[in-house]
């Protein structure tokens, strides 16, 4: 199976480097509003939550697109949007359960994450390692390790 993006909210410092990198790589402009990924910032709870395309196996955006403009990139597994076919109906934006598809305010076109053809800028740029691009196997391992660490800290595992 293809690699995927893994996010650790507890490591995020809210620096927005990922959004700036994404927009600069994708459009040549540093503009978080045309970034293909978003961090939703919660001021009161000091938390940033990624609203990012999960490249769903059974992708609602793909299923709903009347123009079949969203297709699978065989090399990365990304669901990519073919701008030529896109009719701009925004059905995918409505269908996406994560709100991860957005409209570029400059070009007024629907945009979505394409995993940068296999080298996602967000993961490459994240200074604290809060975004990782990993294989499914390490995805599980990293997550399980993180959960165990958290449990150990709380003393659930006993012994400490």
């Amino acid at each position: 199976m293809k690699k995927m993006l893994l996010f650790h909210p507890e490591k995020c410092t809210g620096c927005n480097t990922c959004e700036l990198a994404c927009s600069l790589v994708q459009t040549g402009v540093c503009n978080p509003r045309s970034s293909r990924r978003r961090n939703v910032h919660f001021e009161e709870t000091v938390l940033d939550v990624p609203m990012q395309c999960q490249q769903c196996e059974d992708a609602a955006c793909m299923n709903t697109c009347p123009a079949q403009a969203i297709v699978i990139d065989e090399s990365t597994g990304a669901r990519i949007l073919n701008e030529k076919k896109c009719i701009g109906c925004r059905m995918c934006m409505i269908a996406c359960p994560f709100g991860a598809i957005s409209m570029d305010p400059l070009t007024k076109k629907v945009v979505k994450c394409d995993l940068c053809s296999g080298d996602p800028a967000c993961a490459q740029w994240c200074p604290t390692g809060a975004i990782e691009y990993v294989t499914p196997r390490s995805y599980d391992l990293i997550r399980q390790r993180a959960r165990l660490d958290a449990m150990e800290k709380k003393g659930i595992l006993g012994g400490r």
Binding site: E10, C12, T13, G14, C15, N16, T17, L20, A21, S23, L24, V25, T27, G28, V29, C30, N31, P32, R33, S34, E43, E44, T45, V46, P105, L106, Q124, W125, P127, T128
Partner: protein
């Protein structure tokens, strides 16, 4: 043009007009940010006479050409105005967070705000659409609540707001932005308050176009990786470690070892044995995580989450706030300092100046200059955190004794007489922000000279006080430059001049001084300096498509600094104001260390004046510190030179002002002199 939109927003609050202006012609000579602000301030008002709370006082906000890009630490917005606090009248303040980038993403490089609104308003900038909106509902509310309400109304925006202190014209009121950052010093909040301006709400969707994205990305990543590289060098890696793990309070012990952490209202320095709670403040339970400004890999801001319902959600105290509220007041309880800082944030007060007024009150109380009746019955003894907590809201609301204290330490001290004023550790009316400079001559010189007064980021020579002999030698050509206690005139003058020009640049570019070597970075090896210059010129070239040489950049720095000097000279600053304060000149500082270090001697006035003479000559100033018109014209500042010629230097007025006692009367004397 890429990287620099060349658009200036002029807001006249009296007329209620918002207009766009072209800045294109400024770029080559001023870049943007701080340097540009200086020229805009100079051209927007009669800087010699305008009073801080007059509607004509322009509040200039400027973000440099790298601000809002992905360049590491590129999140700084510079505010420049005539300050109500510093008697030099120079006000500048710099803020991180997301507000500078957002302004740039909205397509603006600078904003000039003048006039006074009839009703409380806030400015709403949404790309090209700029509107003044009523702020009745949030006027009088704390900064946290105001930010919350504005963000509910304009989701995803970045804001600048003032708290009650700014509305009540407290001379050291700050301007808050989001949780962690503020335009803290110089009383910008009071200037906004005098304009009936509650805040700015900015929403941008245009972004900053980059000339050569591919190379810009590659260079940014390289610089970023340098900054985060623990093997880069001992000085840098240690400072990076401290900054990213505990933020600036982590430096307390380090600076203490050099004798640069003050205690007990600047009468002692070194390492305070009881400060464990303060040095580990960022490791405390209340700290949620380290926060970062836009595009910053360092994340030096502590984000605190309220555990106690009475605590307000707030950014943690930085080094200056901890030292001013903690060490200087001998308050060793970390929890109390965090709470005091949070309260300052909500009220919109500068915690540094607030800490200084308390530590001064404590010293005056100890010396019997004031008693409880001066502070409405609160006994201001050393370490009385509860007393400070009680007085803070009074100051912000100007209630009771707060009416007096809201004027700031310098003015209160002056009102109480010479003995009280001698206790105040100030330069040009501004209290120093947590750096004791008696142990380092170059640092002392830069603090005393800085136009806004005691500005640690104006030109504090890192190579000297952090100890980097090879770099100090490379800059000046003298071995003595790196010796903190040496009064070598040529070496120290050259060192300070270089750093002053140099540190104008990050503010002009819109990036943080951290990534520009304030705490190390290129100070590990002399050759790293070349590397840093390559980064800066490369970043500018790839971002804007314009090529700058190192000399051109340093000339921009000098231009900016000479304007600052000319403005304060026009407002009556003389050589006398460039001398260290009374405490530095007359009192030694007891070293509070485990090992019995010798006490730090007072500044040697005779030797200091020699360094000052040399420095003046190097700058092209006369004996009184007035910039010569020849040097100004070489830098292309003919209008500044002309202003100095026609308006007089304010020296005469300044002398009379000293006799009359207030700065404002100085301005009036100039007017009278002109009429004659």
């Amino acid at each position: 043009m890429h990287g620099f939109s060349g658009k200036l927003l002029r807001v006249d609050l009296t007329k209620g007009s918002c207009t766009a202006d072209d800045l294109g012609s400024y770029f080559k000579n001023y870049l943007g940010g701080r340097a540009l602000n200086h020229m805009l301030l100079f051209r927007s008002a009669d800087v010699a006479t305008v009073a801080p709370f007059e509607p004509a006082n322009p509040l200039v906000l400027g973000a440099g050409p790298l601000c809002g890009t992905i360049w590491p630490c590129s999140a700084r917005l510079q505010a420049t105005f005539i300050s109500p606090l510093a008697y030099s009248g120079w006000g500048d303040s710099n803020v991180g967070g997301g507000v500078g980038p957002e302004l740039r993403h909205a397509g603006w490089d600078a904003v000039v705000i003048t006039g006074r609104a009839a009703q409380p308003v806030y400015i709403h900038i949404e790309d090209d659409r700029v509107e003044l909106k009523p702020a009745r509902d949030i006027w009088g509310k704390g900064a946290n609540e105001s930010i919350g309400r504005l963000l509910t109304r304009h989701s995803g925006a970045q804001v600048l707001v003032i708290g009650p202190a700014g509305e009540k014209l407290v001379r050291f009121a700050s301007v808050r932005t989001s949780r962690s950052s503020s335009l803290g010093r110089c009383g910008g909040g009071a200037v906004m308050g005098s304009k009936n301006l509650k805040g700015l709400v900015i929403q941008g969707s245009r972004g900053v176009a980059v000339h050569d994205p591919k190379n810009f990305l590659a260079l940014s990543l390289q610089c970023r990786n340098d900054l985060m590289d623990p093997r880069f060098g001992p000085l840098h890696s240690r400072s990076y470690q401290i900054m990213s793990h505990s933020g600036t309070p982590g430096f307390i012990r380090w600076f203490g070892r050099m004798g640069m952490t003050p205690m007990k209202n600047w009468t002692r320095c070194g390492i305070w044995t009881e400060d464990r709670d303060l040095t580990e403040i960022t490791g405390s339970a209340a700290r949620e995580r380290q926060d970062a400004c836009s595009a910053c890999p360092v994340h030096c801001l502590g984000a605190y989450r309220p555990r106690d319902p009475s605590d307000s959600c707030s950014g943690g105290p930085g080094y200056d706030a901890v030292v001013s509220l903690g060490h200087n007041c001998l308050e060793h309880r970390g929890k109390v300092v965090v709470a005091l800082n949070a309260l300052c944030n909500d009220l919109g007060l500068d915690p540094v100046e607030a800490g200084n007024i308390f530590s001064n009150l404590m010293e005056w109380h100890e010396k019997g200059i004031v008693d409880e009746s001066f502070t409405d019955g609160v006994r201001m003894q050393w370490g009385n955190g509860e007393g400070m907590m009680e007085l803070l809201p009074k100051i912000a609301m100007r209630k009771g004794c707060g009416e007096r204290l809201a004027e700031g330490s310098y003015r209160v001290g002056k009102g109480l007489g010479t003995e009280a004023l001698n206790c105040v550790y100030h330069q040009k009316g501004m209290c120093s922000s947590g750096i004791e400079t008696r142990p380092a001559v170059g640092a002392m010189l830069s603090m005393a000279l800085s136009p806004r007064g005691a500005h640690p980021l104006s030109g504090l020579p890192t190579a000297e006080w952090m100890g980097s002999p090879a770099v100090a030698r490379k800059i000046t050509g003298f071995r003595e430059a790196a010796d903190p206690l040496s009064y070598h005139a040529e070496a120290k003058a050259r060192l300070v001049e270089f750093y002053e020009n140099f540190f104008e640049l990050p503010d002009a570019l819109g990036i943080c001084k951290y990534s520009f070597g304030h705490y190390g970075y290129w100070h590990d090896r002399p050759q790293d300096m070349e590397r840093m210059w390559q980064y800066v010129t490369g970043a500018l070239r790839y971002a804007t498509g314009m090529r700058f040489t190192r000399d051109e950049l340093l000339a921009i720095g000098e231009r900016a600094y000479q304007i600052e000097r000319a403005v304060i000279v026009l407002r009556g600053i003389t050589r006398e104001d460039d001398l260290p304060n009374w405490k530095c000149l007359n009192q030694g500082c007891v070293r509070e260390d485990a090992v019995a270090s010798p006490p730090v001697p007072p500044v040697n006035r005779e030797k200091y004046e020699k360094v000052l003479d040399r420095y003046y000559r190097l700058r092209g100033w006369n004996k009184e510190g007035v910039p010569a018109s020849k040097r100004l014209q070489e830098l292309g500042l003919r209008e500044v030179a002309d202003a100095l010629k026609t308006k007089g230097t304010g020296v005469r007025a300044g002398k009379k002002r000293a006799a009359a006692g207030t700065r404002r009367s100085g301005a009036r004397t100039i007017k009278r002199a002109k009429k004659r």
